[in-house]
Amino acid sequence: MKAVGGNRMADAVFKVHFAGPLISFQDGGRFGHMRFGVPASGPMDRLSHAAGNVVLGNEAAATSIEISMGGIVLECVSGTVSLSLNGGGFDVRVGDQTYTSRSVFNVSPGDKVTVRAGGWGSWCYLGFAGHVDVPSWLSSTATHTMSGFGGGMVQSGQTITIKETRVEESRIGEIASLTEDLAEKPIRLCLGPQDQHFHASAIAALLGETFQLTDAYDRMGARLSGSALELKDALSIPSEPILRGSIQVAGDGVPTVLLADHQTTGGYPKIATVVSADLDRLAQKRARDSISFEQVSAQEAVVIARSKALQMKTYLQEMAVPRGTLLERLMRENLISGAVGPGAD
């Protein structure tokens, strides 16, 4: 299917004038290599990344730029291409135009795109209608930040080439969000797999008290502050597998939630594991944001995962449909309000 609007198969080139720390290229992730010490990496907020791609007509797992609160300034040097910005509440300016951080817009040579942290959120995704030309490792461009393997960190001064660019006039506009994800609800977790190494008071504190994210927050994990979670004894357990969402507790009682670039094994006991469905929401929190946890059973966690998967699938399918040009949209809205007729407010 040809999208409405131009389909120019040309390259676009961007020059990065400034890139803050922790800004990297990420595709959907590199799965199946944890046994070799390789976590999946991929986006910290997986749904925002996927939606930022499908709204441009890309595959959900296509490569985009994960922007941290450090922000980025890049300039289109050549080519015209549609871009999306999706994720936390960041501010974006293109030339003299400002957009919300949930937008699809066009960029032409000479346009400077400035993205800065706004009201909330830690991560935002800059998507390109086309193919981001960066190195891949084990068939994925997801950047593993500790090693730099994959597409790599985005650096000031770097040039980025987008292949097979498209201008998607029919996709320009704001991106709807999955509203449930914005709600301020506790983060759901399952206890274990090593909760038996903790005092009952530690479990009670984890479930009953409020914690804060600290500045020790990167793609590997987020260290929390709050009550110390006391271990029964200063034991050293044999090093064992870690998953995204594991909450490990060091000897000092400080919990860390392991995230996209987590180590694959480690010897600190894991008091609990965050359910997958709530990891995006957790990752969008900032240092000093409060966080509270709610326990669910493993069976409930599976039910949550299934309903979230269905919800995401529907949402992404809707987001992938071009909305039409501005004129078409106005026409459609007229028709719809006409068709709804009497009784509608």
Partner: protein
């Protein structure tokens, strides 16, 4: 054979644990189950991550759940042969030149032997890969001879180059990225662990025996020739 303990890990995995202490028998159980699951992967399996005393079976919760995976694991435990198979001896070339092994003298002093005796003791070790962890391609090998068991350093050394052969306690590994480490630097390997071969990107499978082959400094320099590790 003792039955393992099953622990669900949120919505995404089942932990299968054969014991609490690191010993060969426990680890053999882990490896046998790992191999059995590779032969007959359960429906909805994403991957299996083996470690010292346990392994985690990661699954897609839209396709299966903890109970179904546990049944599959139990079936594997019933069926599996007591033989562990398919492991290949991997050779790793190492140069023990003092400049490339900055801790060799220190190790020798602590072990109460000459540097040459330390090298020979290390070469005589019976190594095999127990698990990967920490960073891509970091393969933890058991088998460092007891005379060379040293606790980790109290402070990490910065910028230890990739390809460093490191020991701590009974364990040994070849680093794949430049990192700070508190392990002891006993040599430098030329054999890449990250092979760059898309068909077999990592040199070792878990369980593989490893043999270190000593090379001279000139052989090291020649084989390096500016070629990056991995």
């Amino acid at each position: 054979m003792t039955q393992p303990r099953f622990v669900p890990v949120a919505d995404q995995a089942l932990l299968v644990e054969f014991g609490q202490t690191v010993d060969d028998e426990t680890n053999l159980s882990v490896q046998m189950l790992d191999q059995a699951l590779a032969r007959t992967p359960p429906e909805g399996l994403i991957e299996v991550v083996p470690a010292f005393v346990n392994l985690v079976v990661v699954f897609d919760p839209t396709l299966t759940d903890h109970g179904a995976i546990q049944q599959e694991v139990l079936a594997c435990l019933d069926e599996r042969s007591e033989q562990i198979g398919n492991n290949t001896v991997r050779d790793v070339e190492v140069c023990y030149d003092a400049e490339l092994a900055p801790d060799l003298e220190d190790i020798a002093r602590q072990a109460g032997m000459s540097s040459e005796a330390v090298i020979n003791a290390h070469l005589a070790g019976d190594f095999h890969v127990v698990m990967y962890g920490f960073a891509p391609g970091y393969a933890y090998m058991a088998g460092v001879p007891e005379a060379l068991h040293l606790p980790r350093k109290t402070a990490a050394v910065r910028d230890v180059p990739e390809g460093s052969l490191l020991i701590a306690g009974p364990q040994c590994l070849v680093s794949t990225i430049c990192m700070p480490t508190g392990w002891w630097r006993i040599g430098r390997a030329t054999t890449p662990i990250l092979t760059g071969d898309s068909q077999k990107p990592f040199l070792f499978d878990v369980g593989d025996p490893v043999r270190f082959k000593r090379i001279s400094r000139s052989e090291f320099d020649e084989s390096r020739g500016g070629k990056p590790h991995g």
